[in-house]
């Protein structure tokens, strides 16, 4: 069902069309992101590419996705050598890419930093952040609400299925989650980490279910690995808990509709597409006509709303097919 590319296109459409969309001068934009080895990152990539294709005046160069900062540095160096007009960069590691991003800025190429923040203010002209810590907080806050509504009491069993544990963003999400839980005197009783893949999700989830015979709430960081997580739940015939997801894939939203999942925390994969738009404006020396402001703002932090059965219809178009 989820393989229709056409439905992908529609995701990026519902935006106000402004005069900024009128063709301007030809610009070359370089885009580099991590290896698109799972749904969310694939969606990041495909929406970015789709965004680039929408503008006749944009020549988008996409570097090979990689999880190796050293390799990504060389991609950015290549962009600088080529003299692109702007760079959209979703770094594998914010700190590791700061130096080369600063070099680009010094060379007069505006850099749009997406999702993972650089360690220096001077490394990017504009930063679009998905809020990882905020995502954890949203999940945690929602979990607190569930505890209260369902009278789970002080000893509610809360489990967390994290993503790739070695990534700082996973740490941010986990920190946000446990900080928010503290607000209602709860804590994470069990934590496992998968690798953002379906297979790893299934693996850690089935072990988790064995480790904890009774669970009240499970937060899974990523809806893509969630396909595997859900398969593990189904196989073990376990549904005594509230299942909260992350990222907001179309699959997850359908599960919410069908009542198989409680909620998911949105982490829009359209950030890079937004980055392309902004990069184009920066390269063409345009402002943001959607705002009162004349200039493109320095920092945009995306909201991490919780999608539940109540509002799922509204968010469904934003759900990415993973």
């Amino acid at each position: 069902t989820g393989n229709d590319p056409a439905s992908q296109q529609t995701n990026t459409e519902p935006r106000a069309v402004s005069s900024n969309d009128d063709p301007g001068k030809e610009v070359t934009i370089g885009f580099s992101g991590p290896e698109a080895d799972h749904g969310w990152l694939a969606a990041i990539n495909s929406t970015a590419v789709a965004e680039g294709e929408k503008y006749e005046d944009v020549d988008l160069r996409v570097a090979e996705g990689t999880n190796d900062p050293s390799m990504q540095i060389s991609h950015i160096e290549t962009f600088i050598n080529e003299g692109v007009d702007a760079i959209v960069l979703l770094p594998t590691d914010g700190a590791a890419l700061t130096k080369v991003a600063t070099q680009a800025m010094d060379a007069g190429i505006p850099v749009v930093n997406v999702d993972r923040e650089f360690s220096s203010e001077f490394a990017a002209r504009t930063t679009i952040l998905g809020d990882n810590y905020g995502m954890g907080v949203s999940a945690g806050t929602y979990a607190c609400e569930l505890v209260e509504e369902n009278d789970l009491g002080g000893d509610a069993v809360i489990a967390e299925i994290a993503g790739l544990d070695s990534l700082p963003l996973t740490q941010d999400r986990s920190d946000g989650f446990s900080d928010a839980l503290k607000e209602c005197d709860q804590n994470v009783d069990h934590r496992v980490a998968a690798e953002f893949t379906v297979q790893s999700g299934e693996k850690v989830a089935s072990n988790l279910l064995q480790a904890v015979p009774e669970i009240d709430i499970i937060w899974n960081h990523d809806d893509d690995q969630g396909v595997g997580v859900k398969a593990a739940f189904d196989n073990a015939n376990r549904d005594e808990f509230f299942f909260i997801g992350g990222a907001g894939s179309a699959n997850a939203m359908r599960w919410i509709q069908e009542g198989e999942m409680e909620a998911t925390v949105l982490y829009p994969p359209t950030q890079a597409a937004d980055g392309i738009r902004l990069a184009r404006l920066l390269a063409q020396d345009k402002g943001m006509s959607d705002l009162v402001q004349v200039e493109v703002p320095r920092r945009i932090v995306l909201n991490a709303p919780v999608v539940t059965k109540e509002n799922v219809e509204e968010y469904l178009p934003l759900g990415f097919e993973s």
Partner: protein
């Protein structure tokens, strides 16, 4: 020179028993296949004891055992295939990628529609066929192109995963044929079908390696390819077949993953090559070829999956898990070596 032959038993090495110490006679019991794997048995037993002590009933429950076995099943099937390739003197780094490609190909809309109109066996055959073809390409390049197995399968690793991504457009393709999931992902007499498949593959693999000409020739090709050639074995064809075999195992693993995760994606089987090779080598199969054991491989797989299970039951954090895993691998292998040495088998 009319000395009776038994006087000179030395020539044949048949004098070994006479030189056996009392200790040897005791452990002689284990000097068969059981002995060779005694170290592994001990390692696994220790692991289970740790599991029982730290997690009690949660560890020993039937459900948990089945969870461990189900986790072992997919990687287990691949590892059995890998045992053949390694025993035959080769290596296959592309298993994970082949699993991904097979799973993706078998879960495309086209295949699924066809399967819906006919029977889900179409999906299964597709996966097996894709696996076999990948293995065939590997095998032909290695055997007839005389290229290093490491390089060819590394290229296949890149190529097959890239192709899988192109086909799936990096999406997760959900399997909609519920009958397939119910059957392959279900249970028979309380035992998960996946576990049964693994058991059948392991037994079949054992028979194939130890009881058939194919298996014996595999050992010959891996142990001394020149001798095998001189004995009239078609070494190239045999090598090719070995890669086809592991390819088919990957296809089967893909089918199992489809049922298990209800989805096909290009991320399936990520880093599976390392896990499979590790299980095979820990099991006692020589990386240089010529000596292979399916029983050891099965133990290797079980040790790794039990390890993960025990870690999770104890809520260990991933970094600590990694360090512990490193230490345990070393200890397990040292143990295995010492026990084997004591049993008089060559190291």
């Amino acid at each position: 020179m009319s000395v009776a032959s038994e006087e000179r038993a030395g020539t044949g090495g048949a004098d070994v028993p006479s030189r056996e110490s009392p200790l040897r006679s005791v452990t002689a019991l284990f000097s068969g296949p059981a002995g060779r794997n005694l170290g592994l048995v001990i390692a696994l037993a220790l692991l289970c004891i740790v599991g029982m002590i730290t997690a009690g009933d949660r560890f020993v429950s039937f459900d948990n055992m089945m969870t461990i076995l189900r986790l072992a099943s997919v990687i287990g099937v691949v590892s059995v295939g890998m045992t053949f390739v390694i025993t035959g003197g080769g290596i296959d780094l592309s298993v994970g990628a082949i699993v991904a490609l097979s799973s993706v190909w078998a879960s495309t809309i086209a295949t699924q529609t066809l399967a819906e109109n006919t029977h889900w066996i179409v999906m299964v055959s597709t996966a097996l066929l894709v696996g076999a073809v990948c293995g065939l390409v590997n095998g032909l390049l290695i055997a007839y192109g005389r290229m290093a197995a490491f390089i060819v399968t590394l290229a296949m690793l890149a190529g097959a995963r890239g192709l899988a991504e192109i086909i799936a457009q990096k999406r997760t393709q959900v399997v909609t044929i519920s009958e397939f999931i119910d059957v392959v992902g279900g249970r028979v007499l309380g035992i998960p079908v996946l576990v049964l498949i693994f058991a059948i593959v392991a037994v079949a693999g054992w028979i194939l390696l130890n009881r058939t000409t194919f298996g014996r020739r595999t050992l010959a090709v891996g142990g001394n390819p020149e001798a095998a050639r001189l004995a009239g074995i078609n070494v190239k064809r045999h090598t090719t077949l070995l890669y086809v075999l592991v390819g088919v195992a990957c296809g089967l693993a893909a089918v199992m993953l489809l049922a298990r995760t209800t989805a096909g994606t290009s991320t399936h089987g990520m880093l599976m090559e390392l896990d499979a090779i590790a299980a095979v080598v820990i099991g006692g199969t020589l990386l240089s070829g010529g000596r292979g054991t399916i029983v050891g491989t099965v133990f290797g797989v079980l040790i790794f999956t039990t390890l993960t299970n025990v870690f999770t039951l104890n809520n260990l954090d991933t970094s600590t898990q990694a360090v512990a895993k490193g230490v345990i691998i070393v200890v397990a292998v040292l143990l295995q070596q010492r026990v084997a040495a004591r049993n008089g088998s060559p190291p």
